[in-house]
């Protein structure tokens, strides 16, 4: 992105019910095909779960955050090339053709 667009503000504390449109979008983002039955069921499940989780709104927001429960700071690796595993072993496991990994279609 060539500009620092701030993210749209959250939808606040009014609880959006997990509707079919939202669950459908989430499923697309996650690359999951859901049947009609699954859509309804998961929508209901997520709705229940998120409603129950709304107790979090009562917790204070922090000002800075960490992604680990213990401090993990400045752990660095020296720039030395090394390969523990023979890449031939890895290639043999994958679906390859002339050493390229065969993938699906692009269009």
């Amino acid at each position: 992105m060539c500009e620092n667009i701030p993210p749209p503000p959250d939808r606040g504390t009014d609880v959006d019910s997990m509707d079919r449109e939202t669950i459908s979008r989430v499923a697309k983002v996650a690359r999951l095909n859901l049947t009609e039955e699954e859509m309804e069921r998961y929508a209901k499940d997520l709705d229940d779960i998120l409603n129950s989780f709304s107790v979090l709104d009562e917790a204070p927001a922090g000002d800075s955050y960490s992604f680990n429960p213990i401090p993990v700071v400045d752990v660095l690796r020296e720039d030395e090339p090394a390969q523990d595993i023979d890449p031939q072993v890895l290639r043999a496991q994958m679906c390859t053709y002339q050493d390229y990994v065969r993938g699906p279609r692009l269009s």
Binding site: V101, G103, P104
Partner: protein, 437 residues
């Protein structure tokens, strides 16, 4: 053949503790097992999921390789909930493990097979993994000792991820001394897992906790038999000369939601790689657009609970919801760490029952809604969220089923917990099921 090998086979065939076992036991080595989300050369690693069928890792997870190098033989991979998603090991694509005390009941989860193996096989040490309580829960339901070390104490290299800020590799066995013996082997920094490189060295020995704190919030909504068993255990501790105090930890009520949001957010990104390229199941026609191919593989391969958690986690990270769920949960984790620290100023460990009930019947589990199942983790989630070490030990038997008690210490104080557990098992006899020849 040997008695031990018979027991291993019994655990596999009668209780479905293992997805795979070796054909031959090497009697010169000590025997250990690894949960099926730990990679090991010579075995598949499927993490309880169909999406990884056929995957044979070309490397050992660090804890596995350390135990192998210390003279251990990996004798099998234990059954588990898919990717760790579950509290009863019922979400397994490779067989649901059956409780050693009562085959109609769950082993707990997600390290259910490890709990069963540790219980059924004397002298056995089982590698388990906990994200929200998946070592404690099976330890409690299967009547064994389960140690969940501090987050970052044991390398996670080679562990198939559920939640990177929550996963810990730990141990289950029949006694604290067995656990203690192997804990030092697997602990310690590993450059391949940077989060394991922040730990202080393990001290020579631990200190016996002198003062235990019981948060009153943890005593709500317990099965009455568990409540009574726990109170009896506390009395025993007092007899042993340990002080027991009631405390209040009001932030405990935020732990469950914060945990599930962080865990599923991280998991939904970890599971993105399962798409039929390079490893795992690929039974989808390659000759189609990549989005269709990926979607096909994933929809076929993931189980119901996995899909639910992927959806939940994806949602909580999305633009418009991220602050309220994902970022807030990060803040709650820090809040809870602070609250535990306050308690640890005056006490050495926090004690609660491990689970709100004994191992449920499968038919009871079948009637539970997802939210109810998540609720079963209410006592194990808090120390898992904060990354604090905790140990579950059997403290009572109710109608023949074990009841577990969980002790939590501050970061890095595993050895204190092991001291407490050692002292406890001198005062309280553990029972193990008789195995019919």
């Amino acid at each position: 053949m040997s008695v031990i090998y018979d027991l291993i086979r019994h655990a596999q065939l009668r209780h479905r503790a293992f997805t795979e076992v070796v054909d031959v036991l090497d009697e010169t080595k000590f025997h250990f097992s690894a949960k099926d989300n730990l990679c090991a050369v010579g075995f598949q690693a499927r993490a309880g999921s169909a999406v990884l069928d056929g995957y044979r890792p070309p490397f050992d997870a660090t804890p596995v390789s350390r135990l192998r190098r210390a003279g251990g033989q990996l004798i099998g991979k234990t059954t588990m909930d898919e990717f760790g998603f579950g509290t009863f090991s019922t979400n397994s694509a490779h067989g649901v493990p059956l409780n050693p005390f009562d085959v109609e009941r769950s082993c707990g989860g997600s390290s259910g097979g490890a709990g069963a193996a540790a219980c059924l096989i004397p002298g056995h040490i089982a590698l388990g993994v906990s994200t929200g309580g998946s070592i404690s829960g099976p330890a409690s339901f299967c009547g064994v000792v389960g140690l969940t070390p501090t987050y970052g104490r044991v390398s996670r290299y080679g562990l198939i991820d559920y939640g990177n800020s929550l996963d810990k590799v730990g141990l289950l066995a029949r006694s604290a001394s067995l656990v203690a013996r192997h804990f030092r082997t697997i602990a310690g920094p590993d450059p391949k897992d940077p989060t394991s490189c922040a730990q202080p060295a393990l001290p020579e020995k631990g200190d016996m906790p002198r003062s235990l704190a019981v948060p009153k919030e943890a005593l709500q909504n317990l099965d009455p038999s568990v409540h009574d068993a726990f109170q009896a255990a506390l009395l025993k501790f007092k007899d042993m000369g340990t002080e027991v105090h009631e405390v209040s930890m009001p932030s405990l009520r935020f732990a469950l939601p914060a945990y599930y949001i962080l865990a599923t957010s991280e998991a939904s990104t970890n599971l993105a790689r399962y798409c039929g390229m390079r490893f795992g199941r690929r039974e989808e026609e390659l000759n189609q657009h990549f989005n269709d191919f990926f979607t096909g593989v994933r929809s076929e391969g993931f189980g119901d609970e996995a899909k639910r958690r992927i959806l939940l986690g994806t949602f909580c990270r999305m633009v418009g919801f991220r602050s309220r769920y994902y970022l807030k949960s990060l803040a709650v984790r820090q809040l809870l760490i602070e609250e535990y620290r306050q308690v640890f100023r005056d006490h050495d460990a926090v004690v609660t029952p491990t689970m709100p009930f004994v191992a449920p019947l499968f038919e009871e589990i079948g009637r539970m809604k997802p939210l109810e199942m998540y609720g079963a983790d209410v006592l194990t989630v808090p120390p898992n969220l904060t990354g604090m070490p905790h140990i579950s030990v059997p403290c009572a038997y109710v109608h023949g089923m074990p009841v577990g008690m969980q002790m939590v210490a501050d970061h890095w104080k595993e050895l204190d917990l092991l001291e407490a557990a050692s002292a406890w098992e001198k005062a309280f006899d553990y029972r193990f099921p008789e195995v019919a020849p």
